[in-house]
């Protein structure tokens, strides 16, 4: 799960991590009010969306007067930002964070992630901050310092010192940075993060170390332990359909093609999308009905797929293991009855109770194109979608 920058900073302050003072608003006038309250002569107006690259897209602006705060707020609020992380459709800005300005001495990068090959939480830090760290990692990997944490030992101050000296800090700043890193690690563990990224981490002209930006990502599997983080969920940022699907135990992701997919299992669902593409079609979605789906969940899956007006044909690909083919057939028939599936429907069933499932579909009287195997199914659905255009 993702949260906004202002939420991440709120959480970080609770863990003693230094950030700039700021306030949040959803209106233009509110932005000026927040700036007045903060005082000072320089403010930063920042769009709050769940994506990086906001600065480049015009979502972060420096204001040197309250008039400029007003002007920037007007321009950014309601604007759809397109960044390398939003996808081509972009994201509409509904919330602004207004922060006080600061004198930046230097911009650094620090991030915490799990290194999958080591199975350890790993710090990455670089003196090259404020830019896309993927580019630094690709071009000059030696400029990134990595320190992994032994889960049995946890954080020890040497970790922070190694990072601080490694990115070239000196004097008092080393101590301040060391404390910063320690607190960031504490937050990461306490909140079950999967990513904690500060880019940039800055040193200021008045000798401070603080987080200018913040990105926190949380482990969905651990959210049951953290109602306080679940409360940060912004329904504006999440696809309504994806959330609806989630409630039925379905895993759904909308894509931009025209062939709806309904599959059991994540790997097979991805493979089904891949084979559609190989046959010259484009998938409209990823949808995994999971292992224990009921008739109702299958019906819901259909209604979600059919919500997408781009869908010209649907491919159901089920390899029954735990999932029984007759349950799927039951759900398909129920969906056809209640929703009136008006696009061609190609069904490929295999595995547990396959004979019964196939018979139910045949006897249902609905027009269903049966496929013999995965390749046949892909071929038929791509043809069906093309004939509909």
């Amino acid at each position: 799960m993702n949260i906004h920058e202002f939420q991440a900073k709120e959480l970080m302050r609770k863990f003693g991590i230094t950030t700039l003072n700021g306030g949040v608003t959803t209106t233009v006038n509110g932005a000026v009010e927040v700036a007045k309250k903060l005082g000072g002569k320089v403010w930063v107006v920042k769009a709050q969306i769940h994506a990086g690259g906001r600065g480049k897209a015009g979502g972060v602006k420096l204001a040197k007067s309250l008039d400029e705060v007003l002007e920037h707020a007007k321009n950014i609020l309601g604007k759809t930002l397109i960044t390398h992380q939003t996808g081509p459709e972009g994201k509409e800005v509904k919330t602004l964070l207004i922060e006080e300005g600061c004198g930046i001495e230097h911009e650094y990068y620090v991030g915490l992630v799990m290194d999958r090959s080591k199975g350890k939480i790993t710090f990455m830090a670089s003196a090259e901050g404020g830019v896309e760290i993927e580019k630094v990692a690709a071009a000059t990997p030696e400029k990134i310092i990595k320190v992994s944490i032994d889960p049995a030992v946890g954080y020890s101050p040497y970790v922070g010192r190694k990072l601080a000296f490694g990115i070239g800090l000196k004097g008092d700043l080393v101590k301040k940075a060391e404390k910063f890193f320690e607190n960031l690690y504490k937050l990461y563990i306490a909140c079950d993060c999967t990513i904690a990224e500060i880019n940039p981490l800055v040193t200021t002209t008045d000798g401070n170390v603080l987080a200018l930006d913040a990105k926190l990502n949380f482990d969905d599997n651990a959210l049951f332990k953290h109602p306080e983080i679940e409360a940060y969920r912004d329904s504006n940022e999440e696809s309504k359909l994806e959330m609806e699907a989630h409630e039925f135990g379905l895993s759904y992701i909308a894509l931009d093609g025209n062939i709806g997919c309904l599959v059991n299992g994540a790997g097979l669902a991805m493979a089904t999308m891949d084979i559609i593409k190989l046959h010259g079609g484009t998938p409209a979605n990823f949808l995994d009905v999971g292992g224990g789906a009921t008739k109702e969940a299958v019906e819901k899956a259909f209604s979600i797929i059919l919500t997408d007006p781009k869908v010209k044909a649907i491919l159901v690909n089920i390899f029954g293991g735990i999932m029984k083919c007759d349950v799927i057939a039951d759900g398909i028939i129920a969906a056809a009855k209640s929703l009136g599936v008006k696009v061609p429907l190609v069904v490929r069933l295999e595995g547990t109770n396959v004979a019964l499932g196939k018979k139910m579909l045949k006897d249902s009287g609905y027009e269903i194109i049966a496929a013999n195997d995965l390749g046949d199914a892909a071929k038929k659905v791509v043809e069906a979608a093309k004939s509909k255009i």
């Binding site: 992380q85 299992g265 991805m270």
Partner: protein, 294 residues
């Protein structure tokens, strides 16, 4: 024969009396697995579906001589069950549970590495040595005994691959689902080593996904160490960046973890690629034919 499990495997299920635990334990028994009982704390001393239930793993091992455990415990408690099995030196632990917090597995991993146990999973379909023993949730009837090893991060996509093999009368030595989580107890290389050493196995199907570097690490290992041919498919060529595709581990985060990049590394390491998931069986047939000519 085959790897990890066979006729001398004695299985218990942790979380036996739950709905899933019961169903799949009995399915495994029906397949021919030597299933000997289960563990459900608080229900020790009772009999469930004709099998003894114990309070602790230790007790179950003492009374039944079990040498393998299948875990069907809900995600918040599954890591604890794994740790209990490790503490009692259970030789083989198969964790089916999906949705275990990553932090729990970070804690389990170093303890597992120093232990005498092998963990398959979590979030996996389990494993099967066709005709001998099945521990997991896969449909047994699609398998047939033979000489091709299968290792995969996915569940139903593995069934698909196995089905394609069986349709061509290519049997399997063992099929191992290592699971779709970012941290797995057993990785591709561990299983490939076992297949390489197994006299029954002549070739291997490796099915991977986007995310992480397990497949590319395996490919480099294969190039250096494996004498048996490998056929591979990577799912997720059409997956968008930054979106978790169902499995916690299947997310493209940059670098070498796209399907395209993985295919490229695999090919460079001499692995036979199936670009289409419908071609896995056919590619294996070709590889086996070419091999028998030599």
């Amino acid at each position: 024969m085959g790897i990890l499990i066979g006729r001398d495997t004695k299985l218990i299920t942790i979380g036996f009396t739950g709905k899933q635990g019961t169903f799949h334990s009995l399915q495994s028994r029906d397949y021919g697995t030597n299933f000997v009982g289960g563990v459900t704390p608080g229900k020790g001393g009772t009999v469930h579906e004709g099998f003894p239930v114990f309070n602790t793993v230790r007790e179950a091992m003492n009374k039944t001589d079990a040498n393998a455990a299948m875990i069907f415990v809900p995600p918040p408690f599954a890591a604890d069950s794994i740790l209990e099995c490790i503490a009692e030196e259970m030789p083989l632990i198969v964790c089916i549970t999906e949705g275990i917090p990553i932090a729990d597995m970070i804690r389990v991993r170093p303890i597992l590495q120093k232990s005498k146990s092998r963990l398959i999973g979590p979030n996996c379909p389990g494993l099967i040595t066709p005709g001998e023993s099945k521990i997991g949730i896969m449909p047994g009837h699609i398998h047939m005994p033979g000489k091709v090893g299968v290792v995969s991060r996915s569940g139903t996509l593995t069934y698909e691959a196995v089905y394609q093999l069986t349709q061509r009368e290519i049997g399997q030595s063992s099929c191992v689902g290592i699971g779709g989580d970012p941290l797995a107890g057993t990785d591709f290389i561990d299983v490939l080593k076992l297949f390489e050493a197994d006299p029954q196995t002549e070739a291997v199907v490796m099915i991977g996904e986007i995310g992480g570097s397990a497949e590319t690490d395996a490919a480099r290992w294969i190039q250096k160490n494996m004498t048996k041919p490998v056929v591979s498919f990577i799912a997720g060529a059409t997956a968008p960046k930054g979106k978790r595709m169902g499995h916690a581990g299947a997310i493209i985060s940059g670098g070498e973890d796209t399907a395209e990049a993985k295919f490229a590394v695999l090919e460079k390491c001499g692995i036979t690629i199936a670009r289409s998931p419908a071609e896995i069986g056919q590619k294996m047939e070709e590889v086996l034919k070419a091999r028998s000519k030599h």
